[in-house]
C-alpha cells in the first residue's frame, strides 16, 4: 500500500499531532513512512502543512502536485490552497470552521470561508466537510479537531488504516486522560461518515 497524505491548516491548530499519529499507525503495520512539516517562523499563525508518505521505495518526504491520495484540511481556505496536490479521485476531509487572518482584520476586508467551502463542494468529488465547531460542542472539547478529521479520513477508507489501527495508536501515543474524549470524537465521525455515505448513495439512486 502506498499512500500520500497532505495535512494543512494554520499554525497552532494541531496538524503535527495528527501527522504523528498517522505515521505511527502506519509504522505499527510494518510500513515505511516519510514525512515533512512546516517548522520555524511560519508556525506563528502562518499557513502550515505536513506531507506524509507511506510505502516502499520512497526517496523524499515531499509530495508532488496531483499525487496526494488524501488531504486533511483544518481550515477551508487552506484546503483550497493545497487542492492542487490532490490526485483525481482523491479524498478531501475539511473542517468547516474558517480562521480569519490578521491581515483581513486589519484591512477591514472579510475573508469568507463559505466561498472556500462552495468551491470545494463544486470541485472535489470525494469531499467530507466536518462541522468541527458543532462536533467539538457536542463532544465538549475544542481540542479534538485533529481526531475528528483523522477519524473521518479513517472511516472514509482513504488512509488504509482501520478503526482498530487508529484506536490502538491513540492509546499508545496520547495521554490517558484524553482517551475517552478522543474515542468519543472517533465515534462521532464514524457515525457522520456512515450517514454521509448513505446520503450520497441515496442521491445516486434517485
Amino acid at each position: 500500500m502506498n499512500k500520500n497524505i497532505v495535512l494543512c491548516g494554520v499554525g497552532g491548530q494541531g496538524t503535527v499531532l495528527a501527522s504523528k499519529l498517522i505515521a505511527a499507525a502506519a509504522m505499527k503495520k510494518g510500513l515505511s513512512v516519510m514525512s515533512a512539516e512546516t517548522i520555524g517562523m511560519a508556525q506563528r499563525g502562518g499557513s502550515v502543512f505536513s506531507h506524509i508518505r507511506i510505502g516502499e521505495g520512497l526517496h523524499s518526504p515531499m509530495i508532488g502536485r496531483g499525487k496526494a491520495d488524501v488531504i486533511l484540511a483544518f481550515e477551508p481556505g487552506e484546503a483550497v490552497r493545497m487542492l492542487p496536490y490532490l490526485r483525481k479521485g482523491g479524498q478531501a476531509v475539511v473542517s468547516a470552521r474558517g480562521i480569519m487572518p490578521v491581515t483581513s482584520a486589519l484591512s477591514g476586508s472579510s475573508y469568507k470561508s463559505e466561498y472556500m467551502l462552495a468551491y470545494l463542494e463544486k470541485n472535489v468529488e470525494h469531499l467530507l466537510v466536518i462541522d468541527t465547531e458543532r462536533a467539538c460542542g457536542e463532544i465538549g472539547s475544542s481540542k479534538v479537531i485533529n481526531i475528528l478529521l483523522l477519524g473521518a479520513a479513517v472511516y472514509s477508507g482513504a488512509l488504509g488504516l482501520s478503526d482498530r489501527d487508529i484506536k490502538e495508536i491513540i492509546k499508545e501515543r496520547v495521554p490517558e486522560r484524553f482517551h475517552e474524549m478522543n474515542l468519543r470524537a472517533l465515534a462521532y465521525t464514524k457515525e457522520y461518515v456512515i450517514q454521509n455515505s448513505l446520503k450520497s448513495a441515496g442521491k445516486e439512486r434517485q
Binding site: A36, G40, M41, R87, G89, V102, T103, G108, N123
Partner: protein
C-alpha cells in the same frame, strides 16, 4: 538494530551518540536546533552538551574537546558559520586529534534565514571535507562515517544537511544502545609545534592540506555514498545524464524512476570532489543536467573536469539558466526540469484541481503571537516617540516580526547584533535622529555586548532596548546565560543583563514591564531624551512559557467599534464583526494591552463582571 520514526536532525543526533561523541556544543538556529536538543534528551551519562553563547564559542569548545582526542560535534545554521568562521579558518591549519564534525544546516528558500549562502563553498574555502546527506537514514549513517574520516585525516569535517533533510521525518533503522561505540581518548598532550598556529606552521600545513585533499578526493571516489546509478535498459544508448546531491537527489531519483532511469550521479561529498568517479560518470555522455539547491557547486566542478580533460560534454544547470538560481527545489520543479532536459512532453496534470479558478486565498504572514510582550514594547516606543525623527534598528529573533503592519517598528534588520552598530552609524551621520536598537535577550548575549561597548567607547547617542522574554523564543525556547539553566540540567547563576550594562558603564539602565502601557511610554519618553548611551530592558516572559491569565472579553454594549485596538496592535486574537470587536478566547492570553488602549473601557479582564453586557463567545 531497530526502527524509529525520526526527524533528520534527531537521526543526526542519534548517529553522533552511536559514534561515541563525547561533547556537543552549538548555538540555536533553524533548521539545526533539534540536533543538539536531541543529544541532550537521548544522551548517555558521559556526554557533555552545551548551548554556547554563540557559534564562535561553540566551535572553539568543540575544537578544544577534539584536541584531547575526544569526539566532538558543533551545531549551527548556515549564517552561524559566518560567526564561527574565524576559528574555523585557522582550525583548518591546526587540525584535530579526536573526530570533529561541524554540523551546519543550510536553508534553501530561504525559509527561516537571512541568506541563501551555501556551506559547500565554506568547505572549499576552508579546504575541509564536506558530507551532504539526502535523507534521514543517510544522515544517520553519514555522521558516523564523518567521524571516521575526521580521525583518519585528523581534520574537522562538515556535515551539511538542508532544511528538508533536517526537518524531514522517516522510519529509519538505527543501532540499539548495546551497539554504540565507546570512544575513549588519551587527553591533551602538550606539543606547541602542533597546537600553536604560527606563520611557518601554517605554511607547512598548507602544503600538507593540499596533498591530503588530493588523497581525499580519490578516497571519496571510492566512498559508497558517491555513486553512479546506471540507466535503465531503454536508456542505455542515451547520451544524457543527471548529476545531483542532497534532497535534490531524492527528487531527481524519484522522477527518473518514474520516467525511466538515465545515468545518474549522486554527489555526497561535494568537497573534495570525487573527480575519478565523476570521470567514469561522464564517460560516454554528451549532456549533463545538474540539479542542486543554492549555488552551482556540482555544476562548476563538472564543468571544470570537462575543461581539464577536454571532454566534449555540455553541462547544464543554474549557470546556463536551465535550473532556477534562487529558492528551493521541489519534486515538481525537478520533475519539470528533467522532463525538459529529456525532451519528454509534459503530461496534463493529474490533480483534482479544476477548471474554474479558486477564490482569492487568505494571506497568512507569520505574526507576533497574541499576548506577545514584544508587541507591547514596540507599541510603547512607537507611542512615546510619535512625531519625532527616529530610526528603529531591529535584530534577529521573533521580534523581527515587529516590522509588520500595523506596528511597523523595524526600520532595519541585518544580522545577529547588527542593529546596535547601525544605530550608531546613523546617529553619527544624523545627530537629530533619535536612534534605537532593539535586541532580544539571547541575541544580546550572543552578539550585542561588543556593540554596546563600542557605543559607549565611541560616545554614541542612542537608546538600546532589550526585549527580554527570558528565552530564545524563535528557535524553540532554548536556555541562554540569562536564564540560569544549562543543557546539562543544572541551575547556575543567571547573568544579569542590567549588571552587564552597568559594568560597561551605562548609567541609565531601566527595567520596565512592557504590559504596563502608561509606565512604559513614560519611561521611553524620559530615557530617550537623556544624552549618550542608555538602555531600557522590557522584561516580560514569552507567552509560550507562562500560563495565560484567562481571556479578555469585550463588552459589546460599550464597544463603539472604532477598532483602535485592531488598527494599533494587530493582535491575532482581536477580530472584527459587524457591530463590535470580538476576542478569540482560544488565542487571548489576557495581556490586557488592548484594554489599556480602549478609549471607552469596553475590554475587560476575565474576572471583571460588567452589568448588562452580552458575553462574547
Amino acid at each position: 538494530m531497530h526502527k524509529e520514526f525520526l526527524m533528520g536532525n534527531e537521526a543526526i543526533a542519534l548517529g553522533a551518540i552511536a559514534a561515541g561523541v563525547n561533547l556537543v556544543s552549538g548555538y540555536p538556529g533553524t533548521p539545526s536546533s533539534e540536533v543538539l536538543e536531541t543529544v541532550a534528551k537521548r544522551k548517555r551519562a558521559n556526554i557533555y552538551v552545551e548551548w554556547s553563547v554563540n557559534e564562535k564559542s561553540a566551535i572553539e569548545v568543540a575544537a578544544g574537546a577534539a584536541y584531547t582526542g575526544a569526539r566532538s560535534m558543533v551545531t549551527m545554521k548556515q549564517v552561524g558559520l559566518n560567526v564561527a568562521s574565524d576559528p574555523l579558518m585557522s582550525l583548518e591549519y591546526i587540525g584535530v586529534k579526536g573526530g570533529m564534525v561541524v554540523l551546519v544546516a543550510d536553508d534553501p528558500g530561504p525559509i527561516s534565514s537571512q541568506t541563501e549562502q551555501d556551506t559547500r563553498h565554506y568547505a572549499a574555502f576552508s579546504k575541509l571535507p564536506c558530507f551532504d546527506p539526502s535523507d534521514p537514514q543517510e544522515a544517520y549513517e553519514m555522521v558516523q562515517e564523518a567521524f571516521e574520516y575526521s580521525e583518519k585525516y585528523e581534520t574537522p569535517v562538515f556535515l551539511r544537511p538542508t532544511t528538508r533533510v533536517c526537518h524531514g521525518y522517516a522510519s529509519i533503522t538505527i543501532k540499539d544502545e548495546t551497539e554504540y561505540r565507546v570512544h575513549n581518548f588519551e587527553g591533551f598532550r602538550k606539543d606547541s609545534g602542533r597546537w600553536v598556529i604560527f606563520p611557518r606552521l601554517s605554511y607547512q600545513n598548507h602544503i600538507k592540506i593540499e596533498a591530503r585533499n588530493k588523497t581525499l578526493a580519490d578516497d571519496f571516489s571510492r566512498y559508497s555514498r558517491n555513486r553512479i546509478y546506471p540507466a535503465c535498459e531503454k536508456n542505455t544508448a542515451l547520451k544524457k545524464g543527471v548529476a545531483s546531491g542532497g534532497i535534490s537527489f531524492a527528487y531527481a531519483i524519484e522522477t527518473l524512476e518514474e520516467l525511466g532511469m538515465t545515468k545518474l550521479l549522486k554527489i555526497s561529498t561535494p568537497h573534495p570532489f570525487p573527480e575519478n568517479l565523476a570521470l567514469s560518470f561522464l564517460d560516454g555522455l554528451t549532456e549533463i543536467l545538474c540539479i542542486e539547491e543554492l549555488d552551482p557547486i556540482i555544476e562548476r566542478e563538472l564543468t571544470y573536469i570537462c575543461g581539464k580533460y577536454h571532454l566534449p560534454v555540455k553541462i547544464y544547470g543554474k549557470l546556463t539558466g536551465h535550473v532556477k538560481n534562487a529558492g528551493e527545489n521541489s519534486q515538481d520543479s525537478v520533475q519539470e526540469t528533467i522532463m525538459q532536459f529529456l525532451e519528454i512532453p509534459s503530461i496534463s496534470t493529474d490533480d483534482a484541481s479544476c477548471a474554474d479558478a479558486p477564490p482569492a486565498l487568505p494571506v497568512r504572514p507569520p505574526v507576533l503571537c497574541a499576548g506577545c510582550p514584544h508587541r507591547a514594547s514596540f507599541y510603547a516606543v512607537k507611542s512615546a516617540m510619535k512625531g519625532r525623527k527616529t530610526i528603529f534598528c531591529g535584530d534577529i529573533g521573533c521580534y523581527t516580526l515587529g516590522n509588520a503592519m500595523p506596528l511597523d517598528m523595524v526600520d532595519t534588520c541585518l544580522c545577529m547584533g547588527a542593529g546596535l552598530g547601525i544605530a550608531q552609524g546613523v546617529g553619527h551621520m544624523e545627530p537629530d535622529t533619535a536612534c534605537f536598537a532593539f535586541v532580544g535577550d539571547s541575541t544580546f548575549f550572543a552578539s550585542a555586548i561588543t556593540g554596546v561597548i563600542n557605543a559607549v567607547y565611541n560616545q554614541a547617542d542612542m537608546t538600546l532596548v532589550i526585549l527580554d522574554n527570558s528565552t530564545t523564543a524563535m528557535t524553540g525556547h532554548q536556555p541562554h546565560p540569562g536564564t540560569g539553566r544549562t543543557m546539562m540540567g543544572g541551575a547556575v547563576q543567571k547573568i544579569n543583563i542590567e549588571a552587564v550594562l552597568r559594568g560597561i558603564g551605562l548609567s541609565i539602565v531601566e527595567t520596565v514591564n512592557p504590559l504596563d502601557y502608561a509606565a512604559s511610554v513614560e519611561n521611553v519618553k524620559r530615557v530617550a531624551d537623556e544624552p549618550g548611551v542608555k538602555a531600557i530592558i522590557f522584561k516580560s516572559p514569552c507567552i509560550a512559557l507562562t500560563k495565560p491569565s484567562g481571556s479578555m472579553t469585550v463588552n459589546s454594549d460599550k464597544c463603539i467599534n472604532c477598532r483602535k485596538c485592531i488598527h494599533k496592535l494587530g493582535c491575532p486574537a482581536l477580530m472584527i464583526s459587524e457591530t463590535h470587536v470580538s476576542i478569540d478566547t482560544s488565542l487571548c492570553t489576557g495581556c490586557s494591552l488592548c484594554a489599556q488602549l480602549c478609549p471607552v473601557n469596553a475590554i475587560c479582564p476575565p474576572e471583571v463582571n460588567y452589568k448588562g453586557g452580552v458575553h462574547n463567545e
